[in-house]
Symmetry: C2
Subunit: 294 residues, 2 copies
């Protein structure tokens, strides 16, 4: 009997963490507060969902897992960077993340700002250093920078903060989610297929999966902030509503949010149809993420 998705994710996270740890150990620097903060932020407990998408989409198009690791690590660096900066007092002001003090609470604000900066730059360094085919490396840098920059995640975070000044509205919420969350999931999937030398149609298909998966993930995240306890979630709950964030539950209510999450899940699964059984774990993943809010 095949492993369930939760066991697969757990086992994958162990492998990914070992890779991330090794990568940081190879850093040219002596032990400094900055390096400690980078390690603390990147190696914090996490599901490593974005690296999972990179690695599995690479394998799905016939690439080896070995090719995918530097790209997976780069995506996780960008994700960790976004968490560290989003948690800052001037942004979402969170003290707790994945059950531990946030980076600026564990160290200090200056170190957290610089650790985030170092992580996002490290992402590009990893691609340029380890992806041997230069045409692929350059394309990956373009994909990652677009998904991360002002048109993507960083622009989405800015819109998220601005959105606190407007009443919750579904169109604005969807557009923020698309840039803040779905862009990086889509890039993770696409970059996996690119480094695995997939065809353009395959790259587009997994990108569509990643995009809809990202939406379902963020709607579920919005819902968990409403329906969970802090102990279950490992971070402060009810903060979105308190901050007046644009969220699905605030825009359309809990039940309609569940329906939207399920619809995004179904669109994600539909995008995988060209891959047949080989993509079953990615379908399971989409089901699992949404099942947490039902």
């Amino acid at each position: 009997m095949p492993l369930g998705i939760q066991q697969r994710l757990h086992s994958f996270a162990d492998e990914a963490d070992a890779r991330l740890h090794k990568m940081l150990a190879a850093s040219p620097q002596d032990e400094t507060k900055l390096l400690s903060a980078v390690q603390y932020s990147l190696l914090a407990p996490g599901k490593r969902l974005r690296p999972y998408l990179v690695v599995r989409c690479c394998e799905l198009v016939g690439g080896s897992r070995e090719l995918a690791w530097p790209v997976a690590a780069a995506i996780e660096c960008v994700h960790a960077f976004s968490l560290v900066h989003d948690d800052l007092p001037a942004m979402d002001n969170d003290d707790l993340r994945r059950g531990r003090p946030t980076t600026h609470k564990q160290f200090d604000q200056a170190t957290a700002i610089l650790a985030g900066d170092a992580l996002v730059v490290l992402a590009f360094e990893l691609i340029a250093r380890h992806v041997v085919d230069a045409a692929i490396a350059s394309r990956l840098v373009l994909e990652l920078s677009q998904a991360t920059g002002w048109a993507g995640m960083i622009g989405g975070q800015a819109a998220d903060l601005e959105g606190e000044k407007s009443p919750p509205a579904i169109d604005l919420t969807r557009s923020i989610h698309d840039r803040k969350t779905a862009a990086l999931f889509s890039a993770a999937a696409r970059m996996g297929a690119i480094v695995g030398r997939g065809h353009e149609a395959q790259i587009a298909a997994v990108g569509t999966y990643g995009r809809h998966f990202g939406h379902s993930f963020q709607i579920a995240d919005d819902l968990l902030d409403v329906i969970s306890t802090a102990q279950e979630l490992g971070k402060t709950v009810g903060k979105d509503a308190h901050a007046g964030k644009q969220t699905y539950p605030a825009s359309v209510g809990v039940q309609a949010s569940r329906t939207e999450a399920a619809a995004a899940r179904d669109r994600a699964i539909e995008a995988l149809s060209p891959f047949g059984d080989a993509a079953e774990d990615l379908r399971e993943l989409a089901r699992y993420v949404v099942s947490r809010v039902f």
Copy 2:
């Protein structure tokens, strides 16, 4: 009679600003606070010394100026990013920069953090998008990420903040300057020669120039903080000593700092000897930067 270096720089800055402006105008986004903050930070009045090094080192090895612009813009994005984040209250807490309110004073802290983030990511996007030769693009991404990341500028800024806790010492000061300032000047020169398809010896020579130029520039900057008025400098003066920064004047005094700046200038000029008369403006530039503190 050829133009003096100050006139050349002035004329170059106009050309560079027009390029930067055009590049930001081509952004896919509507007008947002984030984009305004990015424009405010990147288009702030400045000498554009790093872009000058990129463009002139490209031309010096026989490359066309047109090839160099995206790389020059990328370097200026990284520089602008570093200014915006360094000025934040949690870091150097500066209200004034180039004679204007710093980005977090003009907008707010969250927007300044995100504008810096967007700028550093934009740097990599510009290279990946506009440098057509993928092998060169990938090498440029590696050069820029190394000079910018934890082993370079960002690590130098972290060491600079940590250094406030120790008595001024010349070895520590030199090491901070090397990472915080000289690494990016060296990268600017090297990247110009790389995009211009220079030989390895040429790339190394301009890199050495940029490294020593960067040291002379930073020593002069330390000195200006001691010997200038705010009106002359366009930013708050005397802040280094107040913060207990590791600087040359604090470590070895004003006169010995001048001697060190001149020695770095001479090493920079020496590195240009393979290029003969074609590099005269870069020699003049090195002389000019140091002349401001004599």
